[in-house]
């Protein structure tokens, strides 16, 4: 039986993670993400899971990776300054192919910035924050209900592809209360990591299976002995300087997302078929955008709405034909222009793009986006 809750976004996200099977949380308090840690502190011991408040965010993600290599579905959550601190170990999780979920509840930056105000300034950091090439999966929920849902999806993707998955929430969403329909556990599709089927003697830890190009993962303590390192390594997990081995490993890390891109990408649209102008927005801003688009329709304007649910990989192929047909896009963001570059890349010059930036700690007013729609459409 499904049930109804009235939750904050952060609380919803934490319960979504638990429903996905998360049983390990390592973190460090930071506004506006702390409620996630607080829920986990309460719930983990109660289900024989693990919660630990570490000495800093670097330790938070390190312990989380430790939990993951020991067989637990593991998560950490933070905000801007902590997200910066986590970047080096996030890279280790990409390189060593460790499934974890990392939540960034975005607040204003740079630096300590605006701890209690919304922003969308970390979306490029999600893609490029850790050094070196890697393929990113990042969700941007836009309702409290969706916080629950993307937490499950994020774990499923992390487990399936053996890599970190990011959830880019924001301060408004994290603290806003809304109705959540909590689905019946039996109805959830839950993915667990692929385990080795061979004997410990035959186990080659980073040899991908031919059918999906993904290696199964053993856990420390389950009888297999293997080596984990952040150094570029061969199929034995051992550091290599061999150009062929380096090329193979590096390409496989990118291929996880490239090869399965269509199964990962998610987006939502409304009124795009006949639209003359489409507003492309994500996270909390998408709510304002949708309201403006509906107002515009009421006024007889052919406005449409496109919301990437996955920021990375970006739904570029899906946006392009719609953008070409409409000819005009509006991209409102709470930063000086980050995803707008991705929109530009996606549409190949086939639509005019009007960028809207707001960096004052607040959300756009629906009227501001509506005015822009009128201006662009008119």
């Amino acid at each position: 039986m499904s049930r109804v809750e009235f939750w904050q976004g952060n609380v919803s996200l934490a319960y979504g993670a638990i429903a996905a099977g998360c049983r390990f949380f390592g973190g460090y308090p930071i506004t506006p993400s702390s409620e996630i840690a607080e829920v986990m502190a309460e719930e983990m011991p109660a289900c024989n899971g693990r919660f630990i408040q570490m000495e800093d965010e670097i330790g938070g993600i390190a312990a989380t990776i430790g939990g993951a290599v020991t067989g637990y579905k593991s998560m950490t959550a933070t905000s801007g300054p902590g997200f910066s601190l986590k970047q080096e170990n996030l890279g280790l999780a990409y390189m060593a192919e460790i499934p974890i979920v990392v939540v960034d509840v975005m607040r204003g930056g740079p630096s300590t910035g605006l701890p209690t105000s919304i922003a969308q300034q970390d979306v490029m950091q999600a893609r490029w924050g850790t050094h070196g090439d890697h393929a990113t999966i990042a969700y941007a929920p836009s309702s409290v209900q969706e916080c629950y849902e993307v937490a499950i999806k994020a774990f499923n993707m992390a487990e399936r592809f053996r890599q970190p998955v990011l959830i880019m929430s924001d301060e408004v969403l994290g603290h806003m209360r809304e109705k959540v329909i909590v689905p019946d556990k039996e109805t959830l599709a839950i993915v667990d990591r692929k385990k080795p089927s061979c004997s410990p003697e035959e186990f080659i830890p980073y040899r991908p299976d031919p059918e999906d190009n993904l290696p199964p993962m053993a856990s420390f303590g389950d009888g297999y002995r293997w080596h984990i390192t952040g150094l570029t390594h061969n199929e034995w997990g051992f550091p290599t300087n061999c150009p062929e081995e380096i090329a193979k490993k590096s390409a496989r890390l990118m291929d996880k997302v490239n090869a399965y891109r269509d199964e990962i990408v998610e987006y939502e649209t409304e009124n795009v078929e006949d639209a003359d102008v489409i507003v492309v927005a994500y996270g909390s801003v998408a709510r304002t955008a949708l309201s403006a688009v509906r107002h515009a329709r009421d006024k007889g304007l052919k406005a449409g709405y496109f919301r990437p649910v996955t920021l990375w990989p970006f739904p570029d192929r899906e946006l392009e034909p719609l953008a070409e047909k409409a000819g005009r896009l509006i991209v409102p963001e709470l930063n000086f222009g980050q995803m707008v570059h991705e929109v530009e890349r996606a549409v190949h010059g086939k639509a005019a793009i009007a960028q809207m930036s707001l960096v004052n700690g607040e959300l756009f007013q629906p009227s501001e986006i509506l005015e822009k729609i009128e201006e662009v459409a008119g």
Binding site: F24, G26, M44, P45, A46, C47, N48, G49, R50, I52, M54, E55, D56, I58, G59, A62, A63, T64, I65, G66, G67, V69, T70, G71, Y72, S74, E88, N89, L92, P200, F220, G221, G223, Y224, R225, W226, H227, I228, T229, G230, L231, W236, F238, P239
Partner: protein, 273 residues
Amino acid sequence: MPRPEVLDWLRKRFFPHMWCPGCGHGIIMHAILRALVDSGKKREETVIASGIGCSSRMPGYIDSCTIHTTHGRSLAFATGIKLANPELTIVDVMGDGDCTAIGGNHFIHACRRNIGITAVVMNNNIYGMTGGQASPTTPPGARATTAPYGAIDPPFDVCKLAQGAGATYVARATIAQPVLCEQYIKNGIANKGFSVIEIISSCHTQFGRKNNRRTPVDNLNYFKNNSVPLSRAQSMSPVDLEGKIVTGEFVKREAPEYTELYRSLVERVGGGK
């Protein structure tokens, strides 16, 4: 020649190792393996964790569950592993830079939690891997590539740091005392809580070449001539102790171990059901 049951713990596939011939770290690896074997540990139930440095390359050579993490952070990873599965035996090997510079925060908090991990700090008083820069344990006056006129920074005493932060077993030996190293590591593994064994190691390549200890033997002789057992040190004056390496067991005490506290918490809130 190592005993056959010790040789079983080597991941022969990954040899040759990257250490310079004569590097002190190999003596420590051998002592760790003897201690593990003599403590009756199984390879698939033992985790060797490390950060980054010459010392931290050790896990690659050991055929157990091994994790070579990021510079300074290994204890935070190991904390997660131990909390996830308290049945595992965890030895965390670190360099002096790894442990006391970039990893200082994780080190003191692992001591404070008294989590059941054995930390082996391989102190060669220098950043070996990156070319001989000064570390927080480089003695004042010693030369390093980033202290060309001699170091002026006051150094850390790893054992005092560990004791002050709450570790329940703390000992120091030098690589010139391999049997003592093995014994202390064994005692550390037997201790339920957080154990720190500082082993004074040598880097003739980086430290030695700038400080008149050019060969491995120079270093071993230096350690032999300058070590003082704790029993003797206790009756020596601070002046006489200047520049001496005090070896021995500094802390051996009982305190609740972290994952046991966590398990009681789980039972208290009914999560064990």
